[in-house]
Point group: C2
Chain length 355, copies 2
């Protein structure tokens, strides 16, 4: 080891899902939207003058902030934007989880939370989900340095009711509570309606799932203007210009097309409900997902074996080894056609296994 290595921050990074690139693959492993972005996004991108790229973008991302504020029915002072919701969440951990008491998040949840906590040396505790993978709200009624959970939760897809979310926020007025709503548009109730009532509530959403723009890296947070102002101070202490010119233009176009957004969300929900029925017939069980994925285990075939079999046929799903998650697959909802191919493959494969 070199002497300079003594000053290095050592961390065990988050492992993102595989990004395979096969022709004719079915990619159901990173919860992307199977439908393209709104038509206006294409137009917005082709309208960018290359000459304009020599200039810095607007550091305040004002057009995008305004468009999001309008879509969410809040003031623009209540909106923060970043490079995907991961950037927004990383900045939020750095800004709000700065005390000595442990922050709280579920034992089974988005696997980036403990990575951020380790990166910023934030103490944390992980209340255990119940045997049906549900958050027990009472676990969050004790002393803590802050709270974060996704709603619906990942990778389980299980949603809390808005009343339960409100109870957690109301019980924790002395800390910041972050509700990570990456998947909320597929059927759960958003807590954005509560931000004017609770100044300690930050709601985080993303363009990567319901807005079909994982490739453009846009996420945002909604909260009390004081919370947002603290977040902006940290952002301006980290990187003044996080959002590039193309992301700003694409983001505005995506937010403005409410009809397209509603339509794709509806299609994904329909396909999810169809997929649930088919998977049940095939012997899978799962909690009732309100997200664009299903976290399922099979009655007889181990998840890891299914994962490998699917992979060999270029159908990619996500597998999380571990005591409580290791017999489950997280299957993203693709197009109806893709889910038909998936269930057909599973039907044949599981039949072959019986022989």
């Amino acid at each position: 080891m070199q002497t300079w290595e003594a000053n290095v921050r050592r961390v065990v990074p988050y492992t993102p899902g595989e990004q395979p690139d096969h022709q004719d693959m079915i990619k159901l492993n990173t919860n992307e939207n199977p439908y393209p972005p709104a038509p206006g996004v294409c137009k917005a991108l082709s309208g960018i003058e290359p000459e304009s790229l020599r200039l810095y973008p607007d550091p305040a991302a004002d057009d995008l902030v305004k468009a999001i504020a309008e879509a969410c029915g809040v003031k623009k002072q209540q909106v923060f934007v970043g490079v995907g919701s991961d950037d927004v969440l990383a900045m939020s951990f750095l800004t709000f989880f700065n005390g000595k008491k442990p922050i709280l998040f579920p034992d089974i949840t988005y696997s980036f939370y403990d990575v951020w906590a380790e990166l910023f040396r934030i103490p944390y505790e992980r209340p255990v989900l119940d045997e049906h993978f549900h958050i027990k709200k009472e676990d969050y009624f004790r002393e803590n340095g802050g709270i974060i959970f996704p709603n619906p939760n990942a990778p389980t897809g299980v949603a809390l009711s808005l009343a339960d979310v409100e109870e957690i926020v109301a019980h924790n007025r002395e800390v910041v509570v972050i509700v990570d709503e990456a998947y909320v548009d597929f059927g759960a109730q958003s807590a954005v309606s509560l931000v004017d009532k609770y100044d300690n509530l930050l709601v985080v959403q993303t363009f990567s799932k319901s807005r079909s723009m994982a490739g453009m890296r846009i996420g945002f947070a909604i909260g009390d203007s004081k919370l947002i102002s603290y977040l902006n101070d940290v952002k301006y202490s980290f990187n003044s210009y996080t959002m590039d010119t193309t992301a700003l233009a694409a983001g505005v176009a995506a937010v403005k097309d409410r009809e397209y957004f509603d339509g794709t969300c509806r299609k994904i929900i329909e396909t999810r409900e169809w997929t649930k029925k088919e998977l049940k017939k095939l012997g899978f069980s799962f909690e009732d997902s309100m997200a664009n994925f299903i976290f399922a285990s099979h009655e007889s075939c181990p998840a890891e074996k299914l994962f490998q079999a699917l992979r060999e046929h270029h159908i990619y799903v996500r597998y999380f080894p571990g005591k409580r998650t290791g017999n489950h697959l997280r299957i993203t909802i693709g197009t109806q056609k893709e889910m038909e191919v998936l269930t057909e493959f599973l039907r044949n494969y599981l039949n072959e296994q019986k022989i």
Copy 2:
């Protein structure tokens, strides 16, 4: 104050230069390139299938990393990319300046360094530039927790020789030394040639200046593969997907057009040398800038007064209040035409002042 505010990280953020948006303005305040990006950038952007934006980008940014490695004559394991050099520098502070001893950077320099140090609670000391705004290399030969300086320095434009940079790196093998080469392509010598010799040297560059792409937010670092790997661990603990699909495509196209790059750098250098002569005739003095800006003070007219007069005529330059910097203007080098308008305005204005 609310109770939750006790856990908030309070910081005084960096103030980016104003981004005015007037027709016919002359914008010489944030060191942007006056020429558009390479023609291939436009082609690369229009070649992006909107459908592809629904998918996550390559988290390793492999195409861009390879293109930069090739252009810089290093291995791809020696390249790190980020959302502008500010992102690369923020990650580097977080990764490498993690000891208890103070890091060192000049008293007059890029004003983001102390902001990052404050954000991450890194102790720092600021050796004083000499009376000609030159870095005294001996100031960096004492015990420290890490070193960072721009070469050429900002906002002074003064460059260290490669031999002096090497001396600083060689004297500090027990810490990481970061050379911030945001402006190196306009006439200074890059330390990239030293990275194979010194595993404690990290060289940071950007696409925002010499590659005319401030709007696309691309920066990179070159160093020993071990340094880069530590940096990647922190990046993957912060945000897996920092570079969006359009930035990756635009970046590759920009790097590949060496001829266009050389041509625009040459034009800017020629205009800078012409501007130096004109400013001298008008009674300005300045150190010999090797950057795409000149840090100048006038023999009789206060900088703040000039700044305001220029501003009223929609000619924007940068003014840094402060004891040692407060009588200087930092003037970005624009097109030859823009600099002619600037010097003509100054000639008339200074003549009027004499009457």
